[in-house]
């Protein structure tokens, strides 16, 4: 394996480990030595990959946004109806919350809760554009095809993603009486009926 490939793999393993620790223990309670220790690497070596904890945190939000965006992109590439696509996007989001809860938790409990960490380098949508772009494409396609009502982007985006984020937040607080997958049908239908033309 080439050195560059090894480094890329190492970089990703740092991101994944840090993602888990930040999501579980919070940004401020997690230290670089904690992350290095879990990876069995030296603190100095970890700094070769990420020059600060803030930079690492910013790279993680890009990583999670790209991962989620990649899955929605696959949905966007299909010929499915807007109603079917909404169902698939909701499924992707809730499945990720179930199987890789750290991905969504990171967004809700680190990214949105520690804005000062992201204010220089992750302004606005800079670090979440991988995900936002795919949602834009979904909306654009669905309005073009006449399935969804034309309106301001953020009024539709807020309804869609605020709803999903809120449900995952409730799941994280252990207040949902059922597993989150039980809500996919109803929530997809609610979103579709709220946005349809």
């Amino acid at each position: 394996m080439k050195i560059a490939e090894k480094k890329a793999l190492k970089r990703e393993s740092i991101i994944q480990t840090a993602l888990q620790l930040f999501s579980k223990n919070g940004f401020h309670k997690t230290t670089i030595p904690d992350i290095a220790s879990k990876l069995q690497m030296s603190v100095g070596n970890l700094y070769n990959y990420f020059s600060s904890k803030d930079i690492l945190a910013q790279e993680i939000i890009k990583y999670t946004s790209e991962a989620l965006g990649e899955k929605i992109r696959e949905v966007n590439m299909t010929e499915a109806t807007a109603e079917e696509k909404i169902y698939q996007i909701v499924s992707i989001y809730f499945t990720m919350a179930e199987e890789k809860p750290e991905m969504i938790e990171y967004f809700l409990r680190v990214y949105l809760s520690n804005r000062e960490v992201f204010s220089d380098g992750c302004e606005g949508m800079v670090c979440v554009s991988g995900f936002i772009t795919e949602i834009m494409i979904f909306f654009d396609d669905s309005v073009s095809s006449g399935e969804l009502r034309n309106q301001d982007f953020f009024s539709a985006f807020g309804l869609f993603m605020g709803y999903l984020g809120g449900m995952v937040f409730l799941k994280g607080e252990n207040v949902l009486p059922k597993g989150i997958e039980h809500y996919i049908d109803d929530i997809s239908r609610n979103i579709y009926h709220a946005l349809k033309a």
């Binding site: 606005g124 772009t133 539709a156």
Partner: protein, 298 residues
Amino acid sequence: MSSSPKPKLLWLQSITCNGNTHSFLNHPDLFSILSHFEMIHHPVLEGSATMQDVLAGAVDCDVLILEGSFKEEGFLKAGVEVSSLIHTYANKAKYIITAGTCATFGGIFKQNDPENISGLCFDIEEKTSRYVRYAPKLISLPGCPMHPKWMSYVLLMLSHGKKIEIDNLHRPVELYGYTVHTGCTRNEYFEWKIDTENYGFKEGCLFYEQGCQGPYTRGSCNKILWNDTSSKTRVGTPCFGCTEPAFPRISLHKTKTNMGIPAKMPMGVPRRAYLTLTGVVKSFKIKRFSERLMEYDK
């Protein structure tokens, strides 16, 4: 060119508003350019042939300039079917220049009878039955009207025996390889996705709300300025896309958007790339671009 020392130039009008004739008259070096040709006939300038001879198809022609939309049957002038006159001289000519969008693609006059009116060789973007016959000598100069210097570029290249590179719709790439967006003084606002607040402002881009088609319209309006002075977008009016085959579109003063996303992307730019960039740049507020130009730095 012909054995004659000067190529013979014939300007014919079909269904037209005279816009291209008038545009060309605005050329500051009009008579210098025309001095390279023998003018056989022109709608408003003096020509060497009589109208009777022109109508009889009796005069020679090296360069035919056609202005106006084309109709194969039913459009007569002086009792003569204009299409037959066009065919007569198009067959004789070594070069055919379609001046303006009407002659090239059908344009505004096509709206009156879309089934029967088109450009000479293109019906919007589709090739007409006449295309095969005239394609080897065809040069398209769409625009409503065409810029006088686009015509002078072509005429001077032809009179000097130079080859004109053309694209698939026979437009000279030197003139139409650019978009109207190229050279627009509002480009910084386009880059940062800042809309102008209203017409007539120096600040802001017209692409997001005001219907500007500059980013996907071919033409050099912001490179070769109108009256050597300005352009639509420079004075705060959106580009109407008048050089494009589908001109005129509707709602020229309003950008069609889907949930705030422009329905038509800048030419050749993939939507995903455009939206990624948009999301990033919209995350920043640049002070200089949010203030009036005349107020900043005061």
